[in-house]
């Protein structure tokens, strides 16, 4: 009888060990992980529409072009585009469905909050460039990058600990940590044709 009880205890412990294993080893898609587990993306199962890197992405449009797999560290859409929000992910950016190698020209339209400062860094794979903030409401940026290895991730590296909007504006209850508002972005193969704005 006593042996049977200890066998039951061992069986129950095995069930809990199995449950612990299941908790520690989830079998989920990268999109699920980013949205539900890591909370690094605010897009769940986005609709993909036809597009090319040359045509680019309009951030105010619902869904993502088929060459962009997912976003990270971006807030919800508004009528101008999408803000980066470091509460969603510490390094905002895009993950591509394809990879880029050789020289590419990244063109994007964005505005920055004052807390970003004078520069930020744009990173494509192993290549990064410091970018000067254009002191306009919406500036047009053009950055030339040449990743050595194929790159499928573009990051906007912003200063750590950007303030919450609620801390900047006492009348606001917005808890996001905003950096850049991105309106559009496109990637062209080869070097930038006009003088680059990166530093």
């Amino acid at each position: 009888m006593n042996l049977l009880r200890w066998l039951i205890i061992a069986a129950l412990l095995c069930i809990y060990a199995g449950t612990l294993f299941a908790v520690l080893h989830p079998k989920v898609s990268p999109g699920y992980r980013a949205y539900y587990m890591d909370r690094s993306s605010s897009d769940w199962n986005p609709e993909h529409y036809p597009g090319t890197p040359e045509k680019g992405i309009e951030f105010s449009r619902v869904g993502l072009p088929e060459w962009v797999e997912s976003t990270h560290g971006l807030s919800f859409r508004d009528q101008w585009g999408r803000w980066t929000d470091t509460t969603v992910g510490p390094v905002p950016g895009l993950t591509f469905a394809r990879s880029f190698n050789g020289p590419v020209c990244v063109q994007f339209v964005a505005t920055a909050v004052p807390a970003v400062g004078k520069t930020f860094t744009l990173k494509l794979g192993d290549q990064s460039q410091m970018v000067q903030v254009i002191p306009k409401v919406f500036g047009e940026y053009q950055v030339e990058l040449e990743p050595v290895r194929p790159a499928s991730r573009l990051d906007f590296v912003l200063p750590p600990q950007l303030p919450r909007e609620a801390d900047v504006d006492s009348h606001s209850s917005d808890m996001r940590r905003l950096g850049l508002e991105l309106t559009s972005l496109r990637i062209l193969s080869g070097p930038c044709t006009s003088p680059t704005l990166s530093k």
Binding site: T19, P26, Y35, Y36
Partner: protein, 290 residues
């Protein structure tokens, strides 16, 4: 799961099956509450009054609209009752069913441990452990474990329910004090719900003072867990069910009304009135009952 036999065996529609299961569970929850109060009730009148606390619960809508609250209430009341009779395996089984009904039910492991180790005395606790009590303890969170394994099989994520809740609320864990403070400074229902949560916490402290530590600890822990989970926009929409569908909370109300029996008609008029208001609100599609 409780509605399964009605849907698959009696061929009732899904909504009707849920409602029938919920109403049946309500009867069990009243019976379970009477068992829980067996040492406090000595006459039929007192048992009727005790049963009326469940039957005229301000949030009785959960007992008639197909929710799992009455089943949770019944299992929790039975689990406490059989634990007080020292039927450890049955208490563990009830705890397992409780945690299968609602994930938070795994918290019953805490009062179970307290009761099986001899109430308030923790001295020489290791000598009080035997295999029967240990099996009962391991059975308590079994429902939660099976539910997590089911989620893992269906979605690949054993914590899917927690992750979906976090995605809905927007934060991983909230500060319980802040979760109470924010709605207190809002108007209308959020303030009422924050008041309910504070009353529930005070009731748990009072139960500990009444030497009903197991009931008080469970009530306090379940409210704190609900507050830790946070709520969307800090409004505590789901809080009433964590308070009014807890046997320990109604136990505290019964003890209070027993001491001040003149308040019985006042309380029942209040709770019945709120119940009617909440039912009308639910059926007319108002979002203050979720």
């Amino acid at each position: 799961m409780a509605a399964y036999p009605f849907h698959y065996w009696l061929r009732l529609s899904s909504p009707v099956s849920l409602v029938v299961a919920s109403k049946l569970a309500l009867l069990f929850s009243i019976y379970g509450f009477l068992l829980l109060l067996r040492n406090q009730t000595t006459s039929t009148t007192e048992r009727f009054l005790a049963g009326s606390l469940v039957a005229f619960n301000p949030y009785i809508i959960y007992g008639h609209a197909g929710y799992s609250e009455p089943l949770y209430f019944a299992f929790l009341a039975f689990a406490f009752y059989v634990a007080s009779r020292q039927w450890w395996i049955i208490s563990g089984l009830m705890g397992g069913l409780l945690s299968a009904t609602r994930m938070v039910g795994f918290l019953f492991s805490v009062p179970y441990t307290m009761m099986s180790l001899g109430g308030n005395s923790w001295r020489g606790w290791w000598r009080k452990i035997d295999s029967t009590k240990l099996i009962g303890l391991l059975l308590c969170p079994l429902g939660t474990a099976f539910y997590m394994l089911y989620l893992y099989r269906r979605t690949g994520d054993a914590l899917a329910q927690v992750h979906i809740h976090i995605a809905w609320v927007g934060t991983q864990f909230s500060n319980p004090l802040q979760a109470l403070w924010v709605p207190l400074h809002k108007h209308h229902w959020p303030r009422v719900w924050a008041g309910m949560a504070i009353t529930g916490l005070l009731a748990s402290v009072w139960l500990v003072k009444l030497r009903k530590s197991e009931l008080g600890i469970y009530l306090g822990l379940s409210i704190v867990v609900a507050l830790l989970g946070g709520s969307r926009a800090g409004d505590l929409y789901g809080m009433p069910r964590y308070i009014w569908w807890q046997p320990p909370f109604l136990y505290a109300i019964y003890i209070g009304l027993k001491r001040y029996s003149a308040w019985w008609p006042v309380y029942l008029a209040f709770s019945s009135g709120i119940a009617a208001f909440v039912i009308i609100g639910w059926f007319t599609g108002h979002n203050f009952v979720v």
